[in-house]
């Protein structure tokens, strides 16, 4: 039996366990069955509001991720160059990694509109991941190649394109995919607390207070699909970008 068939069987097994558990519990508001969730998902997908909410939340989370990535990269470049910058960045990165999302959201809701809460939270959650990945990549560059580039007086832009970026790429790819997943989780959590109008977070909040468990599962599936889709597109984009840079 090939790997794909084994995976399919594993998925079917857990769906069967879920269905059985739903039958045993016997109350839809406590545990909705997979079939009920599928029906709810199809119903949601037929509503324009679902797509709009998905679009709004995606844009906010992705904006936070992009700004966080840019900030993380710049901070890593500075920290790699200067010990002072590294020491200065250390408490900021440590705080961003340690402070619980809920505490940060409650603090942030006082400072920014609930509409931009998920962007701010995605930024704060995403930048340390990119910072650490980029810093590790910069430190891991081949010293002999850097020495060679110095001896041949290779200008900065060519060092960056031909030498540094290809060595940084695996670190950045892994870091970006991890950061994006975290941004989705924390961004949606921030929306549930801040409840911006027309967002996925608002929808989740509504189904929670009304005990629409099937819809809660359906929205969760939508969030997971959005997260997977954005990670897939990000990987494709980065692969194309690095391949293009290497051909320059």
């Amino acid at each position: 039996m090939n790997r794909r068939a084994i995976r399919l069987l594993a998925a079917l097994f857990w769906l069967a366990v879920w269905q059985l558990a739903a039958l045993l519990v016997g109350q839809e508001f406590l545990l909705a069955s997979p079939l009920k969730v599928l029906a709810s998902l199809l119903h949601l997908l037929a509503l324009p509001g679902t797509w709009l909410a998905a679009l709004r939340s995606s844009l906010r989370v992705l904006l936070g991720f992009m700004l966080g990535s840019l900030f993380g990269l710049l901070l890593a470049a500075g920290a790699h160059k200067s010990r002072w910058a590294r020491e200065l960045a250390a408490p900021l990165v440590a705080a961003a990694r340690a402070v619980p999302v809920a505490s940060f959201v409650i603090l942030a809701i006082i400072l920014v509109s609930s509409r931009w809460l998920s962007t701010l939270v995605s930024f704060v959650i995403g930048f340390p991941v990119i910072y650490l990945a980029a810093l590790e990549g910069l430190r891991g560059r081949d010293r002999q190649l850097l020495e060679m580039a110095g001896a041949f007086r290779v200008p900065f832009h060519r060092r960056l394109l031909y030498l540094s970026l290809p060595q940084l790429a695996p670190h950045l790819r892994a870091g970006a995919v991890t950061a994006l997943g975290l941004c989705w989780k924390s961004g949606v959590a921030a929306e549930v607390i801040g409840i911006p109008r027309g967002s996925i977070g608002e929808q989740l909040y509504m189904v929670k207070v009304n005990y629409y468990t099937a819809e809660l599962f359906a929205w969760t599936i939508i969030i997971v699909l959005l997260s997977l889709l954005s990670a897939f597109l990000l990987k494709r984009l980065m692969r194309a970008l690095f391949a293009r840079l290497e051909r320059l």
């Binding site: 002999q144 020495e147 060679m148 200008p155 060519r158």
Partner: protein, 189 residues
Amino acid sequence: MSRPLGFERICLRYGGQAVFEDFSLAITPGEAVCLSGPSGCGKTSLLRLLMGLETPSSGYVNSLRPFSAVFQEDRLLPWLSAPGNLRLVTGKVGEAIGIGLLLELGLGDELSKPVSAFSGGMKRRVALARALLVPAPLLLLDEPFTGLDPDTRSRAAALILKQHHGTLVMASHDQEDARLLGARLIRLP
């Protein structure tokens, strides 16, 4: 008065162990010199001193700038092709000349492959082409013919003599390399 090219009473230590004590060597501009001796005698260290990558604990090193070099290791970017590796040091400006050098070194059929797929001798030839592509008054070669068969070695030596007209300092354990390049042999203890 300016100091002559070379080393003046240098001392060099690694971890408390002296590699050179009061070592001096004068090199006439335009001359070819081959530093020869057994492994670990300090040939590479002298080249690194001339490159400015090491500093003696005492004494003077007088080198020329800019220089071009073949390092002890190939130091090629494995993900790039041979022309890509040359493009790193010269940009697109020197691409045609670089490809000409690669052709002369017998790498004409390998231009599109990444150098990670190359044998040791092929990588050495790319490193040599890179060094010859960069015009400099001083050429530093650290075991430049490692992994080359006798024919390719002769062809590579002829190319070095054709392309480089300045000072040449080479490190080699093989005295035949000095003969091929008409270099003055300096035996290190």
